[in-house]
Point group: C2
Amino acid sequence: MKDVAKHAKVSVSTVSYVLNNNGPVADDRRARILESMRVLNYEPNESARNLKRRSASAIGLVVPDLGNQFFALLAKGVERAASQQDVLVVLCNPETSEEAELSNARLLRSQRVDGVVYLSGFDESPASLIELTKIGPVVLVDERVPGINLPSVLSEARRGAREIASHVFDNGHKNVAVISGPTALWTSEQRLAGYREACAGAGLDPDKLKVVAGDYRMHSGAIIAEKLLSVSKAKRPTALLCANDLMAIGAIEYCKSAGLSVPEDVSIVGFDDIPIAGLLTPRLSTVRQPAEEMGFQAATLLINMIKVARGEEGVEKLPSQTLVPVEVVIRDSVCPPSKAK
Amino acid sequence: MKDVAKHAKVSVSTVSYVLNNNGPVADDRRARILESMRVLNYEPNESARNLKRRSASAIGLVVPDLGNQFFALLAKGVERAASQQDVLVVLCNPETSEEAELSNARLLRSQRVDGVVYLSGFDESPASLIELTKIGPVVLVDERVPGINLPSVLSEARRGAREIASHVFDNGHKNVAVISGPTALWTSEQRLAGYREACAGAGLDPDKLKVVAGDYRMHSGAIIAEKLLSVSKAKRPTALLCANDLMAIGAIEYCKSAGLSVPEDVSIVGFDDIPIAGLLTPRLSTVRQPAEEMGFQAATLLINMIKVARGEEGVEKLPSQTLVPVEVVIRDSVCPPSKAK
DNA sequence: TTGTAAGCGTTATCAT
DNA sequence: ATGATAACGCTTACAA
């Protein structure tokens, strides 16, 4: 920067002014400075800027597992929103929730990021999260913590769950089981609540729904399906409501291995509509959550919060709660229960 | 830090010494300082450290599309390796290759990252890449640029391609077509070369292989399959060698829509073995590339290069070329050409 | 409108 | 073994 100043025969502060577009600079000088920057191909040292301005123009993205396409797409959306505003995205994969707590807090404290987009997905430790929000802005995606009202982007998961479950009940299923998500997760609760509503709406007793909690991973879907379906044919559920696609896929895989056909023997629905859902045989009926869009919204909201907190001029505070629509997509994995039953 | 020094009644330099474990510090003082840090829950300001040490302890990860599971898994591996060494990962999604060039170069120059893991996947602009490597370390994944020998982690793609193609030829296919990757990409060339070797090995003329280049995305697989298969049954290829799984899936989808059955009417193989490959009907025969492992290796190599360049003590330079093994996995998408032909 | 100079929180080079 | 102190590259009062 000194070099640029020297080369353009001005002082460093003038250079700084043109760099930040604040402070008044005569047009001819500005031009000279810009030219000098180009000639010397000067690139501002962001570490120094960050030090001075006490900010990093970077956000953290805490995501449990990029192997899950839903999260990967979400990450993509976050990245897109951030790069649009020249904000960097720092990837964090909390191995354990212990570490998550630490690494997040440290990340924020160490001034390497200005805020965090937080996707929990697995178990939650609200206390540490609340702690986090005291250090800096955090936005949750598809999650809420019981005690406190954190900014977040949510989906209409409950409605989606209700609707797809209704679809199943409308097909005439009476003996329906649920492969649910981890208990205590908000997403799990919402989806389950939706299923129960549909159940009641179909004139059935929601308390008679068999519910087993999985961990949102494929394997647990298979395990639980086995548990649920290894009973006499008369008692065997004719439909499985799975709280996400991965578990639904696991369930389908189990059925294949057990010689049960889907949907003839058992109807199965999922949740999320990850890209693979439409490619399976049978094509999976599910509820589409716009993963990438949700990531985009979350990052946009977070960056907005950061700017507002910084008192940047000309930025309106965004509502701290965003609701994105879901859409139930009916494909081939549901049919009326077989007469043979 | 000043506060810590004051609280522990020592000078800032002493605090700095214990923070970095360099410089000699009396044990009792060290203990006092550590205690003070804890009490004040002090967190070093990384921007300041970065400014001073001229490094960011962060690496960039340039990845074309997180929606592609192969890349997502790779990213996961990169993150894992990096976090193991307390290095941050900054995500970059080059929208266009123009921007890629710029944003990468700027990222490196602006001192926000110390190096870059680069996954091209789509078209390449070697010139800008070479430029990049002059600014800082870059490691390529599953890619090479013609002119120059960059550090990279490569897979035995050629062998894999040869072996899976052999499997197809061994099944008796004579009329085989290739849905290849983007021309000019190293991965495409390698795979194609492998296919040709297998072709020759089967006593067929490699120049008679029909080859059409796609873009590694699902859609192009479908389009090209249509082009290839919409001919009289006598001339229609009985097997499709697809340069990645996504295109293979596209091809399978096309076949389904066209009433062609796989593998009876046309055998199809892919490449990569993304998780979905084994879940399709028919289960896709393909070549497994250990995506996450490759990412891990790449980040490990990059970080090693950075440390070596920094002259850090006790670090041995890693070989700048890593070769990871592939494994062909035979599933159900191949069978001998139908007699009916 | 422009320049001077005082930090931002560290690290590293010296004396002590 | 410890403590002043000068950078690191930038921003921003404040002065000119």
